[in-house]
Amino acid sequence: MLMMLIAGIAVLAFISASAMFLIWWERKVSAHIQSRFGPMRVGWHGVLQPIADAVKLLLKEDIRPAEADKLVWWLAPFFAVVPPVMAFAAIPFGKSLIPKDLNVGILYIMAISSVCVIGIFMAGWGSNNKYSLLGGMRSAAQIVSYEIPMILSMITVVMHANSLSMQKIVEAQSRHWNILHPNMLLAALVYTIAATAEVNRAPFDIPEAESELVAGFHTEYSGMKFAMFFIGEYTNLFIIAAISTTLFFGGWHGPFLPPVVWFLSKTYLCIFIWMWVRWTFPRARVDQLMAFAWKVLTPIAFVNLAITGWLLLK
């Protein structure tokens, strides 16, 4: 029991540290992409900027709109933060560094991470504001339609490692990483696109579209509730990066350095790619996004599944 407690506290400490680091890193990466400096004055190179943001958000007055749906409004931020934190239970950081090696690891993570769409939808409905309602509706449609290609691309990996548990998937890639197989490369591509939509980032950030819906589903949230959405988004980003490293880039496998360092460096490399994509691409429109999911990604994922099956049974 004590071991579980220590593991839990360690994971929680890691999550908040990585969320803080990601917020700072995103602002610096986006600044340098736009040939400017980003936060500089708050601590050395703006390192204390996320802490300042957190302190300020703590002190903000918490406004609830008059006719808001009180319970739904109050619960929404928790639904946005708790699922990504729960998903950390099955992430393999190292050889034995895994909070709980579930034998249904990948299935558990997928199930949990699709719960946070309910949080966004509740935020959209609860804040009694037309813009956030539109944002909530869009997020529901988008995330549901991107679950299917994401799961299909995961199944191709599971077929290779013939086990759902994350540790076994990583061990299956001890000789060479999954990404080197051609059909795995295609699955990785489909996964990356679907994961971007899953987390409402970059070309698919229509639920909180800045230029159309003012601030999307969290228009009415201020202070700590808004910070919860902010942290939820970055923890979710870490989750999908961790899953992509475990599935395609050989988890914690690597020559000299200890496994944890390999795992974290690969994950943060994936996160950098997502940040890079976010600050360069325009946003897709709602119906183009849906058409792309159903007409392009899902067929490719099915074909890829068939090819993997044929390859394995050959």
Partner: protein, 373 residues
């Protein structure tokens, strides 16, 4: 609220207010949208949130005192506004200005056209969701033009550089090397935009065939400037009614095919290249002489009325000035291009989605200071 009833599914339209404070309404414009889900059924535009009563004010200012106010009309292309107003008053006084002043005016106006188009392209890309990166690239180039203007007339945005009968200062010493260096730098940057934005698949998917403005509808709404040329009408005042020294300079008019948002963006991008060519030729043919003004600042034109229009980056800016012999204009009407360009919006938007109205508004390149006067 009509509710279309199909069997038992009942959808209801709801009213949404893209109010005066909205990230992508380019200033204080309020759009009232009647939405059926994401589909826009009807859109009415409410303007006047920046109505600063310029025309009432003009009746209490002498001709020279009104020049700084023209900077604040289309505050992104102040040089062109100054030039339009000052040429109208010169026509009223039928005053001849020195050749060097004409060339300096053309150089300043074309440089400001580039700066204005850069902002138009930057905000258009931002409205399509490429958050801030293209905008800050365009602002980085615009800062170079602003440095040139800073050196010429000492201000960043509201230049107040032109006077009735010439310009305020002569060009400073090393300015033509700086402009030549800028032209070379800008040419490579425009190719970058072509490579970065124009043929990007998401950018194309979002702006191609959105907001189709047919040729006759554009003329009927008296749309002008790049929006008209994007619909295939080859009409540019600098070529069709040449003023200053435009007939001596050789440049061509980019024209789009089917008048959608992408064409409007492409026409503006091409116009930057043409303006660079104009500035280069004008700089080469700059005559000697003294462009500054020697006559007094109080002008009392004989009672008459004139209407003069010039080619602004956003369209045709016209000044209808009626003088009654005193030092104050009796009536000064400003025909602003954004006013008519904006009138087209409700027509283009029916049946499209919210993301498209933001795209069309960005491509029409509206500026509220000029619309509301």
């Amino acid at each position: 609220m009509n509710t279309s009833q199909t069997k038992d599914i009942c959808t209801e339209e709801f009213l949404i207010n893209m109010g005066p404070q909205h990230p992508s309404t380019h200033g204080v414009l309020s759009l009232e949208l009647k939405l059926d889900g994401e589909m826009i059924r009807d859109c009415t535009a409410h303007i006047g949130y920046l109505h600063r009563s310029m025309e009432k004010l003009a009746e209490n200012r002498t001709y020279t005192q009104f020049i700084p106010y023209t900077d604040r009309l289309d505050y992104v292309a102040s040089m062109n506004n100054n030039m339009g107003y000052v040429m109208a008053v010169e026509k009223l006084l039928n005053l001849e200005i020195s050749d060097r002043a004409k060339y300096i005016r053309v150089i300043a106006a074309e440089l400001n056209r580039i700066a204005s188009h850069l902002i138009a392209i930057g905000t258009f890309a931002q409205d399509l969701g490429a958050f801030a990166t293209p905008l800050f690239y365009c602002f980085r180039e615009r800062e170079k033009i602003i440095d040139i203007f800073d050196q010429i007339c000492g201000n960043r945005l509201t230049y107040n550089y032109m006077r009735i009968g010439g310009v305020q200062f002569d060009l400073p010493k090393g300015i033509d090397e700086k402009i030549k260096k800028f032209i070379k730098y800008m040419r490579s940057k425009v190719d970058d935009y072509d490579w970065l934005l124009t043929y990007n698949t998401i950018f194309l998917a979002r702006s191609k065939h959105i907001g189709l403005l047919p040729k006759d509808l554009a003329i009927n709404y008296s749309v002008s400037g790049p929006n008209l040329r994007a619909s295939g009408v080859k009409w540019d005042l600098r070529k069709d009614e040449p003023y200053l020294v435009y007939e001596k300079l050789e440049f061509d008019i980019p024209v789009g095919e089917n008048g959608d948002s992408w064409d409007r963006y492409k026409v503006r991008l091409e116009e930057i290249r043409q303006s660079l060519k104009i500035v280069e030729q004008a700089l080469g043919a700059l005559p000697e002489g003294d462009p500054t003004v020697k006559i007094g600042r109080i002008h009392k034109p004989s009672p008459s009325e004139i209407y003069l229009r010039t080619e602004n980056p956003r369209g045709e800016l016209g000044f209808f000035i009626i003088s009654d012999g005193s030092a104050y204009p009796y009536r000064l009407k400003i025909r602003s291009p954004s006013f008519s360009n904006l009138a087209v919006l409700p027509e283009l938007v029916k049946g499209l989605k919210i993301a498209d109205i933001v795209c069309i508004l960005g491509s029409l390149d509206i500026l509220m200071g000029e619309t509301d006067r």
